[in-house]
Amino acid sequence: MAAVKDSGFEALEKLKSTEPPVFLAPSSISEVARAASQYLFTKLKPHNPKSPFDELLVDGFDAEQIWQQIDMQSQPLLSSLRHEVKRFAKSPKEIRKIGDLAVEASHEGDVDEMDMDDDNDVEDDDDELEADESEGEEEEEDGEEEEEDEEEEEEEEENEGIEDKFFKIKDLEDFLEEGEAQEYGTDYKNKKGLSKGKNQNLSDDDDDYDEEDEEDEDEDEDEEDEEFGAFAGDDNEDADNLGKARYEDFFGGKKKETKRTMKDAIEDEEAGDGNQGTEKLSTHEKELLKLQSKIEQMEKANLDPKHWTMQGEVSATKRPKNSALEVDLDFEHNARPPPVITEEVTASLEDMIKSRIIEARFDDVQRAPSLPTKSKRQAKELDDSKSKKGLAEVYEEEYVQKSNPAFAPATFSDELKKEASMLFKKLCLKLDALSHFHFTPKPVIEEMSIQTNVPAIAMEEVAPVAVSDAAMLAPEEIFAGTGKIKDESELTQEERKRRRAKKKRKFKAESANHPVKKARDTNTEIHNTGNE
């Protein structure tokens, strides 16, 4: 162990003595650096009971892994050191008690801290620089450790009464402070750090703050920043602690935020967030911030009046001038657009026309076949056979026709023709009736026909028929006589006789015109034949 220690010590010395540029170039200095790191590690091991490593494993490990090991050892150390520092800040007299050595050591540590801080802020890539950093940290830790040791001894002396193997008040305090620090963020720690009264640090802290402003966030640097980042950090802390704001933050606190309102605090937070906040927050907190900003944006959009395209029916007065031109209005057209006449269209049309011409297939107007107005001339068929009628009979028929048309027998040979002519006459009558006042009445065939008293029809019919008066009965025909009408029961005997005589005379006159056909007297005939 001693040999190792010595070699380690030597390695340290050697590192200290080498020129800075040597670190930048790859050389055998890395072996020396590793040895030095191992030495320091073993030195610190006793002060850190929680560390899983007994010694720093260097062979075959690369810089990252070595650094991780150192980190695992140093993290808890750092926190405990901080507690010690705060404790000293509360009671500065203790520092003086400890003695010059401790002060010197702490000063050295401070100086180193400052230097190392600057180095730490720059991003490291090389093994040597990393080793340097670890070295620097460890030196700083060394200084503080020594301080802490002496404090620890003192404390232990004080608290012997309560403490035993399991319970140590110091540990309890540490634990409590850690818990508080987590809950309230780094607010607590920083305040404690500052009030330690290290005036030198303040100016340096400002420098550091400026530097940190310019650089990229690096989580490895977070802890350093937390320690030394000064005033602006408070804004960030307020953002985190808004929900858990304490009285001291607003009234009578050690800070200047006493007179700020909530709103201002929020604004500052936001400003602060922009600058520094993300560097101090965890991912969860960052996401929360993003969400909050989104929410605020959306709330703002909801409160503002909507864009005119979202307002439903908008007339021209309600939207800005010419704004409809900028919007891409899209709606379905239901009608097919008119055809664009291109060359191809005309060419196809002309082809179709040409083919039609060649086929001579046109859609011209056809002259309809007109109905025959004149019937065909019927060739009269001359009968060759001898006529059955004698010449005398022919003459007789002609004479009868001339004199008395009513008695003339039917001259038509065919019955069908007769029927046809009857139909035609009826038709002609109807057609003539339609042509209003050029109506020729039916020829009166002297038969017993009932004439009804037909009134004139109104003119609003579809086929207005004007019936000539010839068909109507005259009033005298309806009733002939004077107004004095006597019922049969009122008549005297003479009047009755007179009526009967009149009737008889009338009947006789009529019967003279139309000789009534006597029914054949079959009896006489039979009688005749019977006699002879």
């Binding site: 097919r336 055809p339 107007v365 309809a368 579809v462």
Partner: protein, 294 residues
Amino acid sequence: MLRRNVRLRKEYLYRKNLEGDERQLYEKKRKIREALQEGKPIPTELRNEEAKLRQEIDLEDQNTAVPRSHIDDEYANATQKEPKILLTTSRDPSAPLTRFVKELNIVFPNAVKLNRGGQVISEIIETARSHDFTDVIFVSENRGKPDGLIISHLPFGPTAYFQLLNVVTRHEIQTKKEMGKMSEQYPHLIFERFTTQMGKRVMNILKHIFPVPKLDAKRIVTFSNESDYISFRNHMYDKGEGGPKSIELKEVGPRFELRLYQVKLGTLEQDEAEVEWVLRPYMNTAKKRQFLGE
């Protein structure tokens, strides 16, 4: 004259009323004819009337066999008379419109151009009727471009309203010297893709503006229907040198697209006339439907 018109209108309405009965009768006769042809038994509902109907079937001839509808009745006698057309414009026509109407004057044979002046439409139609015109054609415009054409068949005939699109007049194409004279022969007609009922009706309306041509006429007027847009073209043809199959076409006369949007069963001045067909482009299926053909 007035009473005559009233009577004619009433006859028309009466005949339209009878149409339903006539159609039924026609259907029955058709069924009987089919049954007789195929040798099947006559359907039972017609047994009572069978004898009478059979008699009527025997007496039928070409004209009576087809059921007449009131719709094309207007053109029943149109072929017996040559059409006489009156061309007018809307009020205060612009110069391009008057030029277009002058061209149409030449395109339609037997056409007469009338200056509109301040006449009312009913007056114009009355005078046309009394002078035995068969058709009146109105042309309207929008800012110099002719955009409307109304063809009104005269006795009481249908009125077809068209929209004019893509009008190219002869004046636009060439100067007066180059235009030359257009032949005024009675043209042959070509109608393409007028397949539906409505299409055939429109074909009828457009056909009867033109008279019966001679067989060897060299002028061709084409109405080609493409998704309800009718293209009008006017050509002269010549038999080419390459034999009987080659033909040279020369385009002559104005060219435009017609789009039918209404057909009314009355003349132009009868506002209350029944609308036979009207275009409805706002319906959801309007894009898919084609009314004139295909």
